[in-house]
């Protein structure tokens, strides 16, 4: 009888009755062959592997991570709530110490959802990892978190949510934004003035193979995590770096994913993208599960795997080495970078536009952050979507200092309801969410 070395929890929620639309990649069929492979291997019969039922997240859960516009109900379906609930169920099992580690194989994904969400972008409506992490911070005393996003697309939603948060180390490794949606995630994107250097974006050149991924893991990701000393490690386990993925151009493999997982040892992994539903997902998911459980994964090899064909060029190896060095340099100088980024108490402003490809809308944001040496800083976001709503959102961060709490309430109290459809306040220290409207 097989026995897992690490007790591992799994949530499997393939949402076999939900798709964005009938021929969309985010469709019913997506995890069908993964389910077949996992069931055929008898994974749930292995001693020490426990299957959990997903939960359904509540509006209160979502409100710790998001400002949903116009409200939570309008921009989500039950499948989004259950998918996020899958991550939540695993997190709780890990917190209760029923399992050492856990993997939520759920869909739809969530890592492109930002703090303000007007709808779907990059197939995502709400951010599963952020909802889970904020729950753990509010209810389980978790303070420092590392989120490593290994999806092939830049995890811009999670990056946005933790942009100003010095207590969350967010690392995304992804195909170079110049060649891939959403077109962001460059090494100079290091976080806001209060959290510079705890956001690490690692673009990888097209056709990077296992060698390159594992190089980055060993030389950049793992040292940064060791330095940061998180309470928990979360992996946004997208599987679209695979050499058969139809939407990307990378050369990663099931063996590579399993090795990456063995190295990272995430407490909680959450499935994100991955659209090679027959050639990759059954093998990659199996590899990740076995790696998490500490079982032998050496037999998990795609039928058409050919390491010679997937070997990366010297130019790619060199490029990855230099990206790694650049990021390591920034990470090591993060205190200095923050000092230079602004004066304590000063308000910094940024205007940006966000396109929601899934729901076809434009959002224009005017963001104001209070530069603060004591916490993540009070944050004010003026956001207008076309078509859509105009809102003002005020975020008081987890472990906020008194000045930032006061600043946040001051902005919220003074905000003019005539100017906005809605005005929101997210008070993370008190775990309170308020809405003002005309």
């Amino acid at each position: 009888m097989l026995k897992a070395k690490n007790k591992t929890g799994l949530v499997f929620f393939p949402a076999f009755d939900w798709a964005i639309d009938p021929i969309h990649p985010e469709r019913e069929e997506r995890l069908l062959y993964t389910q077949d492979q996992v069931e055929e291997e008898g994974i749930f019969d292995i001693e020490g592997i426990l299957e959990y039922k997903p939960e359904i997240v509540t509006i209160e859960d979502i409100r710790r991570a998001h400002f949903c516009v116009p409200d939570e109900k309008t921009i989500t379906t039950e499948s989004h709530l259950i998918s996020a609930g899958g991550a939540m169920a695993i997190a709780k099992a890990v917190m209760r110490k029923e399992v050492e580690t856990g993997f939520a194989l759920v869909r739809p994904p969530g890592h492109h959802s930002m703090r303000v969400s007007h709808g779907g972008r990059g197939f995502c409506h709400i951010n599963m990892e952020a909802i889970m992490v904020e729950y753990l911070r509010s209810k389980h005393g978790i303070k420092r978190v590392a989120i490593v996003d290994t999806d092939c697309h830049h995890g811009d939603g999670t990056n946005n949510i933790y942009w100003h948060d010095p207590n969350v180390l967010f690392i995304s490794m992804h195909q170079d934004g110049r060649t891939m949606y959403p077109g962001s995630g460059f090494p100079n994107e290091l976080g806001g003035p209060n959290a510079m250097g705890t956001n690490l974006n690692i673009p990888l050149p097209p056709e990077t193979s296992a060698e390159g991924y594992l190089y980055i893991m060993e030389n950049t990701v793992m040292p940064a995590i060791a330095d940061f000393k998180p309470d928990i490690i979360v992996n946004s386990a997208g599987q679209d770096n695979h050499y058969t993925d139809p939407l990307t151009n990378m050369n990663f493999s099931a063996q590579g994913y399993a090795e990456l997982t063995t190295m990272l040892k995430p407490d909680i992994a959450v499935l994100e993208g991955g659209y090679s539903i027959e050639g990759a997902l059954p093998y990659v998911n199996l590899g990740i599960i076995l790696a998490m459980a500490g079982l032998d994964y050496s037999g998990v090899i795609e039928p058409d795997f050919n390491p010679e064909k997937l070997r990366q060029s010297q130019a790619i190896t060199d490029k990855i080495k230099s990206v790694s060095e650049e990021i390591n340099y920034s990470f090591q100088r993060r205190e200095e970078l923050r000092e230079r980024a602004g004066e304590h108490g000063e308000i910094q402003q940024k205007v940006r536009e966000i396109y929601y490809d899934t729901d076809n809308l434009y959002e224009r944001q005017n963001e104001k952050i209070r530069v603060c040496r004591d916490c993540g800083g009070a944050l004010e976001i003026d956001s207008k979507a076309t078509p859509g709503h105009h809102i003002l959102a005020v975020h008081i961060p987890h472990q906020a200092c008194n000045e930032c709490i006061e600043t946040g309430y001051d902005i919220f109290d003074k905000a003019d309801t005539k100017k906005y459809d809605k005005i929101f306040l997210q008070d993370r220290p008190k775990d309170i969410y308020k809405i003002k409207e005309n």
């Binding site: 009888m1 097989l2 949530v11 499997f12 929620f13 393939p14 949402a15 076999f16 009755d17 939900w18 009938p22 021929i23 969309h24 990649p25 469709r27 019913e28 069929e29 069908l32 062959y33 389910q35 077949d36 492979q37 069931e39 055929e40 291997e41 008898g42 019969d45 299957e51 959990y52 039922k53 997903p54 359904i56 379906t77 039950e78 499948s79 259950i82 139809p246 027959e278 059954p282 093998y283 199996l286 076995l290 079982l295 032998d296 050496s298 037999g299 998990v300 090899i301 795609e302 039928p303 058409d304």
Partner: protein, 563 residues
């Protein structure tokens, strides 16, 4: 008239039923080393004064294969597996003659690696040399495409007495369980065949020519002939017999908890709409997790003969049995002693029971009455606690669609049926504690044999249709047909019904039993590649659900019939 027989660990129960009701019961001692004579004696006793021609059917539930598997007293089996990518197949072999050969099929049934004929011939030579007569041939994903198993069998054929193929054991996925199940079939085949051939011959001699059916672990029956291809399905049919025996007393609209309270253990099961819940994949027996369809039962080490003691001032109903109750000559107090002491049960030596209760009463510093009542109450409490945990676990089982998550059926127990020795004495107490209507099943000491007698033929098939590949298959029945793009769910249901009915007839079902068909699972998926639809996949499971044969619904079970 029908004979139902259930071999238990201590007793073998035999009943005679007509469509008017219960006629007669016989209990004989089980001789585990001679089940053949146990069964024959039981039937002979029962038929004293009954004409053999009046018997229309005999249903047997025995512990033959169960004991053999648990005691590892079975034929040596050669296992040949082909696996392909995934967990190393070497890890699933727990027999000496286990060979992994080349060849791989993927999740959609496509060949991704050829088999090597020479390699298999070499394996055959080694198996022959080791004196192996029975072989199991199992491939990963063989239920999606059994061609490798079929070719391997062809190469091995004629060199071995019998070869069992993995894809025939079940339509369900689970390679390790498929290996275990094919292995079990091969391992018990010869003893099963010899036993039932001998039974049939002996009954023939006595002029009993009625067809013999064998009870399966899913509480359904199969003909003797059919059982030879799937002999492992007979394991652990005993608990299933009891559960089926409770069905006549369940109500359609009430979820029912069935508690079979024995001496050592209590078996817990659930009926929804008079149908017992099934294990999702299959039964676990000994070290084997299998794909053998079975009723969902949960066995807990608590019963009438549980060892009662006091630990650190607290009453404990132990998990172990240290012999019979003191009232029946045992050495240690048991819940049965409490029942006897309280005068609820007439049998047993009340004085001896009182001695047992006194031992406990002294340690607890309670009166004899309070102690006995506490023992009964604690026993009932623990049984209920285990039961409700089982219900909770079932209600928490994972679901894979939004619909099931939101609307999925939740079990709510509204009735409790008790079986087994102490059943009638505990009913009132269990009802009081749980607040749920509780009753002991009439004739509960032979409910198992009644269950065997009344069980209908059951079976299941799994259909997969893939319009991109242009094929609909039910591989466990060796069925495959070409299909076109216009194939619909209706076509899938029609095919599945036809094949299921054929299968049921093959197992010995009559036309009446074929009415109880239900769709357990029906899903369809668009196959989408590069933003364009390429076809559809239909997946369907249908079954004849476990339950009672028709014509016996109005049977009388009153005690008067006993006299």
């Amino acid at each position: 008239m029908i004979i139902g027989l259930d071999v238990g660990g201590t007793h073998t129960d035999v009943v005679l039923l007509s469509n008017k009701g219960f006629i007669k019961k016989v209990k004989v001692l089980t001789n585990p080393s001679d089940l053949f004579n146990t069964v024959l004696t039981g039937i002979t006793e029962l038929l004293k004064g009954i004409s053999p021609e009046s018997i229309k059917k005999i249903i047997l539930s025995t512990t033959l294969t169960t004991n053999a598997v648990v005691q590892q007293n079975v034929n040596p089996v050669g296992i040949v597996v082909s696996s392909g990518p995934g967990i190393q197949a070497e890890l699933f072999g727990n027999v000496k003659h286990y060979y992994k050969v080349k060849g791989a099929i993927d999740h959609r049934g496509r060949e991704t690696e050829n088999i090597n004929k020479q390699e298999i011939e070499d394996v055959a030579k080694k198996l022959k040399k080791a004196g192996i007569e029975y072989v199991a041939v199992v491939g990963k994903f063989s239920v999606r495409n059994p061609s490798h198993e079929i070719v391997i069998k062809r190469i091995l054929n004629k060199q071995f007495k019998k070869i069992f193929m993995g894809h025939n054991v079940s339509g369900n996925l689970n390679f390790p369980r498929r290996i275990a199940t094919a292995h079990l079939n091969a391992a018990v085949y010869s003893m099963h065949k010899e036993f039932f051939t001998a039974i049939k011959a002996s009954l023939d001699k006595k002029g009993i020519n009625a067809p013999i059916q064998v009870l399966k672990s899913d509480g359904g029956t199969m003909s003797l002939d059919a059982s030879l291809e799937i002999p492992a399905r007979t394991v652990l049919s005993g608990p299933a017999a009891s559960i089926i025996g409770s069905i006549p007393h369940a109500e359609g609209n009430k979820d029912t908890l069935v508690l079979d309270i024995g001496g050592t253990t209590t078996d817990i099961a659930i009926l929804v709409n008079k149908t017992p819940l099934l294990e999702p994949l299959g039964i676990k027996i000994g070290i084997y997790k299998s794909l053998i369809r079975s009723l969902k039962t949960y066995s807990k080490g608590i019963g009438g003969d549980s060892f009662v003691n006091v630990q650190e001032g607290t009453l404990v109903i132990g998990h172990e049995r240290k012999g019979p109750a003191m009232a029946f000559g045992g050495l240690y107090p048991t819940p049965t002693d409490a029942i006897v002491y309280l005068g609820m049960m007439e049998a047993g030596d009340k004085k001896l029971a009182e001695q047992g209760i006194a031992q406990i009463a002294n340690q607890l510093n309670l009166s004899l009455d309070d102690t006995a009542n506490l023992i009964v109450k604690t026993t009932c409490n623990q049984i209920l606690d285990h039961s409700m945990k089982m219900v909770e676990r079932i209600n928490k089982k994972p679901v894979y669609t939004v619909h099931e998550f939101m609307e999925g059926y939740k079990i709510k127990v509204e009735k409790i049926l008790l079986l087994g020795g102490p059943a009638e004495y505990l009913a009132q107490q269990i009802e009081e504690i749980s607040g749920i209507e509780t009753s002991a099943v009439p004739l509960s000491s032979v409910a198992n044999a009644i269950g065997a007698a009344l069980a209908r033929t059951t079976c299941e098939v799994s259909l997969i249709a893939d319009t991109e590949q242009g094929i609909a298959t039910i591989h466990e029945e060796d069925y495959a047909e070409p299909i076109s793009n216009s194939y619909t769910e209706k076509d899938a249901i029609e095919t599945a019904y036809t094949i299921l009915k054929e299968k049921a007839r093959g197992l010995g079902a009559n036309e009446d039993e074929l009415k109880e068909i239900e769709v357990i699972e029906s899903q369809s998926f668009n196959i989408v590649r590069n933003f364009s639809p390429k076809g559809k996949i239909f997946r369907m499971k249908i079954q004849i659900k476990p339950g009672l044969i028709n014509g016996f619904e109005k049977m009388k079970f009153d005690k008067a019939a006993l006299n």
